[in-house]
């Protein structure tokens, strides 16, 4: 995972559920590219193509609620999205994103401040998100969990710990 994530944002509202992110009928796929072809298509004409010109998704409360489908975070990665910042996340999405290696940040103040197309810069080491000259702190992910994200997901994390001869205890 990079130390700094920057780019243009697309902004959603509250309670974006996983059926909106990727509809149930596409759960026959697991490949990020294939899933991305149908991501957010429920939102109508122009989706998901429109989202490909953005780098970071910003959303309100409870992003990713509803079904536990891991394909929701996979589909977002398939769109080329580098991070999701939300006022809060649904816990299944939060967990899936970390296990999938999709960086996510909880920061209600950023949601309130930004508009579609704005530039954001996320400094992971400093724990800060910058927008129009202002810095916003985000709560750090617990260290043990952050390690999974840093290594690009749970499968990679386990492989690396197994290779190092130290299975997680």
């Amino acid at each position: 995972m990079q130390d700094k994530i920057t780019g243009r944002i697309y902004k959603f509202g509250d309670n974006v559920n996983s059926d909106i992110i990727i509809a149930g009928r596409y759960l026959i796929y697991i490949d990020p590219v294939k899933l991305a072809e149908h991501a957010f298509e429920m939102l109508g004409e122009g989706f998901p193509a429109r989202l490909r010109s953005f780098d970071i998704l910003v959303a309100g409360r409870n992003f990713g609620c509803g079904s536990a489908r891991e394909q929701a975070s996979t589909a977002i990665q398939g769109l080329g999205i580098k991070a999701v910042v939300a006022a809060s996340f649904a816990r299944t999405f939060y967990r899936n994103a970390i296990n999938d290696g999709l960086p996510i940040f909880e920061c209600p103040a950023v949601y309130d401040a930004v508009a579609e197309g704005d530039e954001l810069s996320i400094d992971l080491a400093a724990g800060l998100i910058s927008h129009s000259g202002r810095d916003y702190e985000f709560p750090r992910i617990p260290e043990s969990v952050a390690k999974i994200l840093q290594l690009g997901g749970l499968a990679n994390y386990l492989k690396s710990t197994l290779e190092a001869g130290a299975a997680p205890r």
Binding site: G24, N96, N99, A155, L158, A167, P168
Partner: protein, 424 residues
């Protein structure tokens, strides 16, 4: 500590845990339905190459959406899971027609109090009604950490206690109360939280009705839900093993008298009217008045929140010597084979068949419209299912209302959404 904290502490080998701690615990049971099993399997085979399954007896596959696969793709996916199960010696494979996953697992006696259960299904928290800690996870959690090491990571949740008291009005069913709670707290009302359902009303319910509450914990953003286990829980678990030799050993974890809550919510159930979740989301819950009179095309008693024996009995009582309204398709989907058999023996299916209803094989019913339940553009369904998001059942403009079995029955009788209190 409360029940959830005690289980997480025991299973992570610690004396105590507190909200916010991240723990790595043993897992007792891992559940996958036919929509998730195939992917978990692929993640395991592709990303964890060469790894083996630590304990195949802890895995459960239940094919609940495809009661008989309708497409070649679906047939191939199920066949691949059957091959995987045979290769890795996974004995707990419940094939098509078994019922709805959590009812199948509960009835098979696979969950006992004190267990940690994870499932690739967001409604997995249901086992909190049995004194277990259970929650929904994604494919990676299951395949990587669960399959290979019987482990899972969890952040210990804060707990919100919902204290229910009072006696419900006639025609108000437990589903109305559990649905009311989703509307009251909101879909983001308890994110990451454990929800404890307590109070005289909860104590008065049997375990099958209590289960509706943790089942819907996810619909307010909760990590898990539970009822502090009592004598009723124990009797229910023992009854599951009544006809089999030897009830497995289990440990009962109960709340300490001084356990702390992030919040306590008080609900007087005597003031709750029949409830309906209107499109487009599960949290859009209102007293039935707002929807009364809406013409319907499909009515269904089925799914994890509505294909129980009590729901089918409710329907049969309504339709004794009465007919389903012309133009309405009434779909009855038992949640397990045991329920199917009991309904058959009680003559409920004969009553419903004569009334004009269609009886479907035990399954998840119209959930996500895999084998059934697709709607055309202008169609309206009212069901006991758990979710009503647009596009989940056919056309994105089709409308899906969620309600109790009694409200579903009353509506199927009149052809429009009907307040069950007006039933003669």
């Amino acid at each position: 500590m409360n029940m959830v904290e005690k289980i997480l502490a025991r299973k992570s080998g610690q004396k105590s845990v507190a909200p916010g701690d991240v723990v790595l615990t043993d897992i007792d049971l891992m559940l996958m339905h036919d929509l998730s099993a195939n992917f978990v399997m692929k993640v395991f085979e592709n990303e964890m190459e060469g790894a083996s399954i630590a304990d195949p007896s802890k895995l459960v596959f239940a094919f609940d959406h495809n009661f008989a696969p309708a497409t070649r793709d679906a047939a191939e996916a199920l066949a691949a899971v059957r091959r995987f199960a045979a290769k890795h010696n996974v004995k707990n494979l419940f094939d098509s027609g078994c019922g709805s996953i959590h009812h199948v697992v509960m009835e098979a006696g696979l969950v006992t109090p004190g267990m940690i259960v994870i499932g690739c299904d967001s409604h997995t928290p249901i086992y909190g009604a049995l004194g277990a800690f259970s929650t929904g996870v994604g494919n990676n959690s299951m395949a990587a950490l669960g399959f290979t090491q019987n482990k899972g990571w969890f952040k210990v949740p804060e707990t919100v206690k919902i204290h229910f008291h009072g006696t419900p009005m006639t025609a108000v069913q437990p589903r109305d109360i559990s649905q009311f709670l989703v509307g009251k707290l909101g879909e983001d009302g308890a994110i990451y939280k454990a929800l404890e359902y307590a109070g005289p009303y909860i104590e008065s319910l049997d375990v099958n009705d209590r289960a509706l509450f943790p089942l819907q914990a996810i619909d307010v953003g909760g990590k898990c839900g539970f009822v502090n286990p009592d004598d009723k829980t124990l009797r229910h678990v023992r009854a599951l093993f009544g006809n089999k030799p030897g009830t497995p050993q289990f440990e009962l974890f109960q709340n300490d008298a001084d356990c702390r809550y992030a919040e306590v919510v008080d609900i007087d159930v005597s003031r709750i009217e029949p409830q309906v979740a209107c499109p487009p989301t599960v949290g859009n819950v209102h007293p039935i008045d707002v929807a009364v009179g809406t013409p319907i095309n499909v009515a269904e008693a089925g799914g994890s929140t509505g294909g129980r024996l009590s729901d089918i009995r409710t329907l049969a009582r309504c339709f004794a010597n009465r007919r389903v309204h012309p133009g309405v398709r009434l779909q009855v989907v038992p949640a397990s084979r045991d329920i199917y058999l009991a309904a058959l023996k009680e003559g409920l299916f004969e009553t419903l068949h004569v009334a004009g209803a269609n009886i479907f094989p035990p399954s998840a019913g119209s959930n996500q419209a895999f084998n059934m339940g697709a709607l055309a553009e202008d169609e309206v369904m009212i069901s006991t299912q758990a979710r009503n998001f647009p596009g989940r059942n056919g056309h994105p403009k089709a409308r899906h209302f969620l309600a109790s079995a009694l409200t579903v029955a009353a509506s199927a009788l009149t052809g429009k959404i009907t307040d069950p209190r007006t039933l003669r």
